[in-house]
């Protein structure tokens, strides 16, 4: 599935939940369930700069040149959104990752649940995703 299609599926799936707060709660729950970030990678060098909370992001490229991301955050709200975003980009080719903006944030009205400083933090996460993809 192309990344654009994958993003649209994500939007369609979460749009089933009509109430924006309930939708946000589902995204927070997604983050809570995601506990696979390796403890030994919670390093200063993996911190995403510019986030108000601590966000760690790592990525690696597989044999088929697809990039896989793992992310963790110390704030449940931002972690849910970050996991959603990284899940969308994970397993995709670098050029697609770089070319596809995370429209899902606005489409699901997640931006309404986040302060401007946290939205800025999300932009830094997206920027770091692009950097990792570019380096792959």
């Amino acid at each position: 599935m192309a990344l654009a299609e994958k993003q649209q599926t994500l939007i369609d799936d979460y749009s089933i939940i009509e109430d924006p707060m309930e939708r946000f709660a589902a995204i927070v729950a997604l983050g809570r369930k995601n506990q696979d970030f390796p403890d030994d990678q919670r390093l200063e060098e993996n911190l995403v700069q510019g986030c108000t909370s601590q966000v760690w992001l790592i990525g690696k490229t597989d044999a088929e040149n697809c990039v896989h991301f793992q992310i963790d955050a110390d704030a449940p709200g931002i972690k849910g959104v970050a996991v959603l975003m990284c899940g969308m980009y994970s397993g995709e080719k670098a050029d697609e990752i770089i070319a596809t903006e995370p429209d899902v944030i606005e489409a699901l009205k997640i931006d309404r649940n986040l302060t401007p400083t946290r939205l800025n933090g999300l932009r830094h996460i997206r920027q770091r995703i692009v950097e990792i993809a570019s380096e792959s």
């Binding site: 927070v28 704030a75 449940p76 709200g77 931002i78």
Partner: protein, 408 residues
């Protein structure tokens, strides 16, 4: 003085009757900026509708009237804060500019090796200017520790003084914790043990009770107008005249000069010395209106007593919430309750509360060294003013229960 009636007080603040997302506004962010009573709003409107003119240099009625209003505003504020001399009250953009003005003035006299004693609970506004000056001049900064209850470790603070101490600066009230520091005693100690000048950051103290600068014994006292129910962009530096007149001007231009010629310029004495260009005339007049309102319509003592009763109620209610930790439990506090929750990040708390119409602040509160000391990224902070009531606290508690359901 009218009797303190919280419903009448709240009615005097138009913004408190609005809704946020179909919920009544619960404003618990007065530490960031206080709301404005109609008396201040009306005074600003009246100035622009009927009195607007530049000051000091006009020969027409409006200019002379605006000059009188501006000068009277200074007198009102000087009286309200107990400044011994009116001209020692300088209008600035706010507490931040006031501190910068003093650090700029002291840069002429401080030399390499001189020491400044600060505390770890300073707002960045009373931290960064000294750090920059220290780097520029080779000064040593010494920081007093803060105890677990959020008070200055006095033994440690006292141990920092030496013959090289040239300035002691400390906040009157911690913006992040609400702690009221014993500034009079601290000033007396600093003066007794050293030749240090003393600067007090009063930004978070002035909105919570009557301050009498003459009684404190300090050399400089700074605060912002917008936190004391006045307009934005206006603040006060009070300083001893002989010290201020010895400082080089902070900014230069019109209004602050005595004589300008191609061979050189001479500068006026205070207050004009530090009020270059057209000042914030309406801001000064609006700030005086805020002090008038507090003095004549509310009464500082009644306001303080009411705020303390709400603080007590809020502290009791918040203490009942499992997994909530209040940061700053000093016995002497203003209406600031900083807290963390096991289940949620401060920003998450702020986001959920916002959906309930409850406005708080979340983050490091411009006090990152203090947060580092406590080894926390930040706190959620509910900050009160005399216009808050028990219903505001009940709404906060309901919101926090929602936070627990959401993230718990």
């Amino acid at each position: 003085m009218p009797e303190f009636n919280i419903d009448k007080i709240r009615a005097a603040f138009p913004i408190l009757s609005r809704e946020i997302g179909n919920k009544p506004l619960v404003y618990l962010d007065s530490g960031a900026t206080a709301q404005k009573p109609k008396a201040v709003i009306d005074r600003l409107t009246h100035f622009y509708e009927f009195e607007n003119a530049n000051i000091h240099r006009g020969v027409h009625y409006l200019s002379m009237n605006a000059t009188t209003e501006y000068d009277e505003a200074r007198e009102t504020i000087a009286k309200a804060i107990g400044a011994p001399k009116v001209e020692e009250v300088i209008f600035t953009r706010g507490a931040t500019e006031s501190v910068n003005l003093v650090s700029n003035g002291l840069s002429e006299t401080l030399v390499e090796g001189d020491e400044i004693v600060l505390t770890l609970m300073e707002h960045h506004a009373n931290f960064v200017p000294w750090q920059i000056l220290a780097e520029k001049k080779g000064l040593t900064l010494k920081f007093a520790n803060v105890t677990d209850t959020g008070e200055i470790d006095m033994e440690h603070w006292k141990s920092l003084f030496s013959s090289k101490t040239k300035l002691a600066t400390f906040t009157h009230v911690s913006n992040a914790l609400g702690t009221i520091n014993p500034v009079k005693e601290m000033t007396a100690f600093a003066k007794d043990k050293s030749d240090a000048l003393v600067l007090i950051d009063g930004a978070q103290a002035v909105p919570h009770g009557k301050v009498n600068i003459s009684d404190l014994g300090c050399d400089f006292y700074v605060f912002s107008g917008h936190k004391v129910f006045g307009p934005d962009g206006i603040g006060i530096l009070w300083g001893r005249g002989e010290l201020l007149n010895a400082f080089q001007p902070f900014q230069s231009g019109g209004d602050m000069i005595e004589h300008v010629s191609v061979s050189g310029t001479t500068f006026r004495q205070i207050p004009e010395r530090f009020e270059a260009g057209t000042p914030n005339i309406s801001g000064a007049i609006g700030l005086a209106a805020a002090f008038d309102y507090m003095e004549n319509e509310v009464g500082w003592e009644a306001a303080e007593a009411h705020e303390q009763s709400i603080l007590k109620y809020a502290t009791e209610r918040l203490s009942e919430i499992e997994g909530l930790h209040i940061r700053g439990t000093a016995p002497d506090k203003v209406g600031v309750i900083s807290f963390t929750m096991d289940s949620a990040h401060p920003h998450d708390i702020g986001t959920i509360l916002d959906t309930c119409g409850v406005a708080i602040r979340a983050g490091h509160h411009c006090a990152q060294p203090l947060m580092e000391h406590y080894k926390i990224a930040g706190t959620a902070r509910a900050s009160l003013a005399f216009y808050n009531n028990r219903e505001d606290i009940d709404a906060l508690i309901t919101g926090l229960e929602k936070v627990q359901r959401f993230f718990g």
